[in-house]
Amino acid sequence: MIHLKNLDKQYKNGDQTLHVLNDIHLKIEENEFVAIMGPSGSGKSTLMNMIGCLDQPTSGEYLLHGTDVASQPEKELAKVRNAQIGFVFQQFHLLPKLSAMMNVELPLIYGGVKKKERRERARIALEKVGLEDRVNHLPNQLSGGQKQRVAIARALINEPSLILADEPTGALDSKSGTQIMELFTQLHHEGATLIMVTHEQEVADYAKRIVTVRDGEIIKDRGQEHVVPR
């Protein structure tokens, strides 16, 4: 489903060129659960943004479901992000003035779904992350873990084929982190494709495959078959 071919990403800073991603080759199939690990500044987030169609590579090819992303117009990419990709961020990125429900239904608004259906689907998504009793709460009335669950409900609402999570547990205590990871595992069992960036080995251990990045290059890529701890 995802195929990256000799992907490069460079930033020009004056006369210096910063190679953030270097000749990346990566293939990810449907229903995989992949963790991306690596030291800070190694290019993990840049890679995720590329996969999420938020960023364009300097050179190389990115095929999503067999189509070349680079050749798509901006409007088409917005549609892909809306319908096929769900983002989960370390800082949650909820809109502070909107209730949990309204935050969750945002992707459906851009997808042109009617209000009644939006409300119904947002309610179901919030139920799925265990927040059916927090529907009308504002983000600052929720705990960190609850905020992240709202964000996950928002990522799920359009039933995307791909969920991208950049350090989803990075801002959470370990108990909330565990809850989030259990939710991801459940989504994986239900058939979702998950890619997750993390610094923590325990979190990465939930994934079935770990890709390690250093200085913009993939230095390790191995499957792991061990059972999720606890």
């Binding site: 999420g52 938020l54 901006e74 409007k75 549609k79 992000r81 809306n82 990125h93 851009y110 209000k115």
Partner: protein, 399 residues
């Protein structure tokens, strides 16, 4: 994404910054409000001026005698102006003429016992009441039986009463002398609908039929003609002046005021004033628009992360552009509407105090709304475009 959803989103966002939205609108409110006020007051004033000159819109015009240039300053030149009973009958019979309102007048003393008061003596018939409405504050007004029977009765204006009678005296029923002829006072009259810049004259109204007793002639020296309709005014005024000039042995000429010219003149004056003040108000709208742009730019910067997030959730550039454009247009439109209401309120108050007609016209209101929407689009475009062009990753990373 539906347009309605965009509007709702914009309204919600404006509502969440109520105070700021209100302050931003202020410039537009003041701009539109002053435009509406100025135009309404200008129109009201114009309507008043025109109606005053055009005989209150009852199709009446005044005929006057214009001596030749060299006699203009000569008071005697006017002395021979006289409309005979035959003249008046001939004019009355013209097809475009509805009625003739002629009267005679002189300035002389009215005497009661030892007291004397200078006053305008007007010899009228009941047609005169069509030129100006009168009410009797005590007693009654002259009527057609007084005229038909040549009764020696008068009504006095309040000013004359005050000069002749002590405060407690009842003037009605008393006898006053004019040019040595005794008249019975039957009422005290007042002119209605006096505009605020007309001054009250001391005057005495008496029946036309008793005029010869005082001056030995039944010639009238003032002539007003009421045409059948507004369209007939032109025809009637030509017919009347042609008739009078043909009959006349005087070196001058009979003329009527040309209403159209006067109306145009008034209109020009008020238009120029309206344009000048409107221009100043327009500048305040411009400043208001710049204020909106300024706040929208701040808002875009503040909401950079929100914009990045929305893009990551599938918002297109168009969606973001529209969202911010709707916000600015909503700001200016609501501001414009409030401004219109405020302006209409002020114009209403002014016209109430001045006794003018209230003239906030639909086109002006529509123009106000349209213009404030336009300001919203023009000054919203730059911030909205800035928002739409934001790179989602950098926007999301924005602190």
């Amino acid at each position: 994404m539906s347009f309605l959803d965009s509007v709702k989103m914009a309204l919600r966002s404006l509502w969440s910054h109520r105070l700021r939205s209100m302050l931003t609108m202020l410039g537009i409110i003041i701009g539109v409000g002053s435009v509406i006020t100025v135009v309404a007051i200008g129109k009201g004033g114009e309507a008043v001026l025109t109606s005053q000159f055009a005989g209150g819109g009852n199709n009446t015009f005044e005929v006057y005698y214009m001596p030749p240039d060299e006699e203009l300053m000569d008071y005697d030149a006017y002395d021979d102006v006289a409309y005979t009973t035959e003249d008046l009958r001939a004019i009355q019979e013209m097809p475009s003429v509805n009625q003739v309102i002629a009267y005679a007048y002189d300035s002389t003393n009215v005497v009661y016992h030892q007291e004397a008061a200078g006053a305008q003596i007007l010899a009228i018939n009941e047609n005169y009441y069509d030129l100006n409405e009168f009410t009797a504050s005590s007693g009654r007004l002259l009527d057609n039986r007084d005229v038909d029977n040549g009764r020696r009765v008068v009504t006095l204006s309040t000013g004359v009463v005050e000069e002749l009678f002590a405060t407690d005296d009842e003037p009605v029923g008393q006898i006053v002398n004019i040019e040595g002829v005794p008249f019975e006072v039957i009422g005290v009259h007042e002119r209605e609908n006096q505009s605020f810049f007309a001054f009250q004259v001391d005057e005495v109204l008496l029946p036309q039929s008793s005029w010869p007793m005082l001056y030995g002639t039944d010639n009238m020296d003032m002539l007003n003609v009421q045409a059948n309709s507004a369209d007939d005014i032109q025809v009637a005024s030509h017919a009347v002046t042609n008739y009078l000039n043909d009959q006349s042995t005087l070196s001058g000429e009979y003329q009527v005021l040309n209403m159209e010219e006067i109306e145009q003149g008034i209109s020009q004056v008020t238009n120029v004033t309206t344009m000048i003040i409107g221009g100043v108000a327009g500048i305040s709208l411009l400043v208001g628009g710049i204020g909106v742009m300024n706040i929208m730019l701040v808002s875009v910067t503040e909401r950079t992360r929100e914009i990045g997030l929305r893009k990551s959730l599938g918002a297109t550039r168009g969606n973001i552009l529209l969202q911010f454009l709707i916000e600015s247009v909503t700001l200016t439109t609501i501001g414009g509407l409030i401004g219109i209401m405020l302006g209409a309120g002020v114009a209403n108050t002014v016209s109430l105090i001045a006794g003018w007609p209230f003239l906030v016209s639909i086109p002006v209101v529509l123009l106000g709304v349209g213009f404030s929407m336009f300001v919203g689009i023009v000054f919203g475009l730059l911030p909205a475009n800035k928002a739409a062009k934001l790179d989602p990753i950098e926007a999301l990373r924005h602190e």
